[in-house]
Point group: C2
Chain length 499, copies 2
């Protein structure tokens, strides 16, 4: 790599020096909206995947759509990469800056434009937090359903870019299912309105295409989401199990019985003990796993379904059951789950959070596989999952100061993702590909699919200036990685065939 | 237009004569799978939008993916248009043949490949009917939720191509929300697998992009859908109203109360009387409108919510209420609704079915607007709607044998769609754009969005050979149409400003 300070590097296609670009940006934006001093850039060098850090070339903080359009056109004209960023809570490095590109923070797009209670929708700017929408909607008896654990900090713009999920997504869907319309600015500076305020929009579904596209196709500058009526009540039940696979089987039984819980989470022994140490929520330290299941709806509906659920859990081998008796208890039972990541973070100097998704029924097989791999790599894993939708978050514990341990951890993580693929799952549930899982894309997809992804990228951004190097690997990169594509659900890894 | 018989026309880019193409196809397919005699082609000249008819150049009936790939490559190499067709039940002319192109029927892709009850999914070929999936899943206690009225005849492949809805889509989503994975053949003959059997797939959501793309991006050759557990019970309530707008207001009250019905339909006086004449289902002829609302779930849940619902409907001005007391009564109450289109068809020599979608709250405004337009055009309209999701199906009654009446009807229909747009809705809910609504696309979308649609098309089909002339108008066509784009929700039609 170059010895020159990161901030003075030029992108191969750039036709302006850094100083010239600063001057050009200052024509478009107020001086305080263009950051170029190293100490100002430092705050933007990573997102929540902090193992990857890179100082951006420059940072801009526009506050109008017109400014975003002008910045995009400037980048397009002068061949300079452009990376959009929300709150930087992303876990896959999707907002990692480009060392010779402009980082565009949407922090100043922080207004709720309208809460339309009659039509149960909210029109907002991308830089507000996820939680702010529900807070504003609350007085109308409404809320915004998708609830990533980071909802207090993450922005709705980032949620759309990553198609975020959360505890409630089993019942209420991912971001894409709660999205009505967005406005985006293309790298050519065009302002496009995608989707509609009705249920559906004709022609190609560019709204869904943009959702989860990780900043590669356009910059989201306005968002309309649908709101739901606040449920009359919600209750959670905690079931203890002496074997994590029994917890997994209980999930299948619940879904099979036609119950769609508002939340359905499993934590294994290591994770629940860590959470208990951290948050003191009353989790049973002697359990091999706990299952948390929330029901919401009317009082009668919840009561009746809770009785059915309790019978199912008992029949499925639960060794203890505890229902929340009031809102305070309900929130306390969730507090441990919501704090699981920081709690596990205290067990080791570092941890690595995975995000595979599998068909629910494969849960026991995959859990056994993870345990075998943990032994093979000599690393501990705490398992936390959105069990209802088969979204696993194995947290691999390691110590980056031990030589080779980070590399071993990354290899272990990659093996977990490949195991998810081998059972028909995917390499990411809700955290995105970013820089972290880009090699696993070569495993999940074949050459024809990757070529089609590049064609789509080209249709929006022919010069490849938006968030370069993220989400979709080049065919060349995959060739180097070995391009091990899953055909017919079978991986060409002999060691995975036994799963 | 040419005087030569339609079947001998050559597409401008074609490098093979019709006879040469027949010979080339016979190399790929058995002789019985290549139709070229006029009497054989006649059966394919239109879909359910039978006002538009065109004899295809040739028809092919492949039965393997490899054959579809070979046909696509042949078309690509020789510049010949290719149009895919399911059962031909589409209402917007999406499967209208190309006079110098090959019509590819998927009728022989008629197998259910797997019902995976453990993971609650079905893997099927595109040519089976929508209903066949639920029939096959039934013995496992499962079903496929989206249920277009034509479900007994329409194919799942056509459902994916049009992103079909149905009575149940308010609660269970459109086709796209119940789709896990598809395999498509591109015009280059590539076989792509899009989506995953898990909840989500990384990178660009090409599955959602293909869903509803009306055969413009690829040919769907395999489909995996998610199945749901059959509800324990279902019950329908019929409410009569002396004013259709009261029925519309009741819809808002139901949704506002947090009830998500499995079906929520309104029929106005003309529609309900026609249905009653046709199907003898016990609809009240003296009502200005009826609302049919179905709840499903456990017995207790349905009973409890039905009580809430009954109170809401009484409070909302319902003049009579009737609950189904058993499955037979439930099916009878729906029979009239399901037969509404053929029933209305008996009121006049011809009818024209519209498919606008509007934000629910705009229902009273739009109904009043349709009534005013009906007077202006001197034509009768029967209104049937998926009220819960704001999807309107006004049926305009006319007589094609009266000079000028078809043209007046089409203009009236276009005005209705523009009215839907003016209140923030869209020009199609579930029937697609096809050839029918292509000019209204110029009203719904601006130049930048249309250009982006063309870029997407180009990324899949650079020569424009797949289903040419459908779904997305050329910019030139829009310029001719007047390119009247809705900006900020306001239409530049003075006569619409009053709505």
């Amino acid at each position: 790599m170059s010895e020159q300070p990161a901030s003075e590097q030029l992108h191969p296609t750039a036709t302006l020096s850094r100083a010239e670009m600063i001057a050009a940006l200052q024509q478009i934006l107020p001086a305080t909206a263009v950051l170029h001093e190293t100490e100002d850039l430092r705050a933007y060098e990573c997102d929540a995947l902090s193992a990857y850090r890179r100082l951006p070339w420059l940072v801009v903080l526009p506050e109008t759509i017109e400014q975003v359009q002008a910045i995009a056109m400037l980048c397009r004209r002068h061949g300079v990469p452009l990376v959009a960023r929300g709150a930087g809570t992303g876990l896959s490095g999707g907002a990692l800056p480009h060392e010779a590109g402009i980082l565009l923070s949407l922090a100043r797009f922080n207004r709720i434009l309208a809460i339309d209670a009659d039509n149960a929708l909210a029109r907002v700017q991308p830089g507000i937090t996820n939680l702010a929408i529900s807070t504003a909607a609350r007085k109308h008896g409404l809320y915004y359903a998708p609830d990533p654990s980071s909802q207090i900090a993450c922005t709705i713009g980032g949620n759309v870019a990553e198609n975020s999920g959360g505890i409630h997504c089993l019942k209420y869907g991912l971001t894409v299912h709660n999205l009505l319309q967005i406005k985006i600015v293309t790298i050519d500076g065009e302002l496009l309105t995608l989707g509609s305020l009705g249920l559906e929009s004709p022609a190609y579904d560019l709204l869904a295409l943009l959702c989860g596209s990780e900043g590669m196709l356009g910059i989201i500058v306005e968002i309309s989401v649908r709101l739901l009526p606040l449920p009359e009540t919600a209750q959670v039940i905690m079931a203890s199990f002496d074997d994590v696979t029994h917890a997994g089987e209980a999930v299948a039984a619940i879904i099979g019985a036609g119950i769609i819980p508002a939340g359905l989470e499993i934590m294994d022994h290591l994770a629940l003990c860590a959470a208990e140490d951290f948050a003191n929520t009353g989790y049973p330290r002697d359990a091999a796993a706990i299952l948390l299941c929330e029901l919401d709806g009317t009082h009668e509906e919840v009561k009746q379904q809770m009785d059915v659920l309790e019978n199912l859990l008992r029949g499925g081998g639960a060794t203890a059951l505890q229902r929340s008796r009031n809102e305070e208890e309900r929130l306390r039972l969730w507090a441990g789950r919501k704090a699981a990541f920081p709690a596990v973070g205290r067990l080791a100097p570092d941890y690595y959070c995975m995000d595979g998704t599998i068909p629910r029924h494969a849960l026991p097989r995959v859990l056994a596989g993870i345990a075998e791999l943990a032994e093979e790599y000599g690393l501990r894993v705490a398992n936390v999952f959105h069990a209802g939708d088969g979204n696993l978050h194995p947290l691999i514990l390691y110590d980056a100061n031990q030589p080779g341990e980070l590399e071993r951890t990354e290899e272990f993580g990659a093996r977990i993702l490949e195991l998810c693929l081998a059972v028909g799952g995917t390499i990411t549930g809700e955290h995105g590909v970013g820089v972290e899982k880009i090699d696993q894309m070569c495993v999940q997809f074949g050459k024809a699919e990757l070529a089609q992804f590049h064609a789509i990228k080209h249709a929006f951004d022919s010069e490849g200036l938006l968030n370069p190097g993220k989400a979709v690997p080049t065919l060349h990169r995959c060739a180097e990685f070995g391009a091990m594509h899953v055909h017919g659900g079978r991986l060409p890894f002999p060691e995975l065939e036994r799963f």
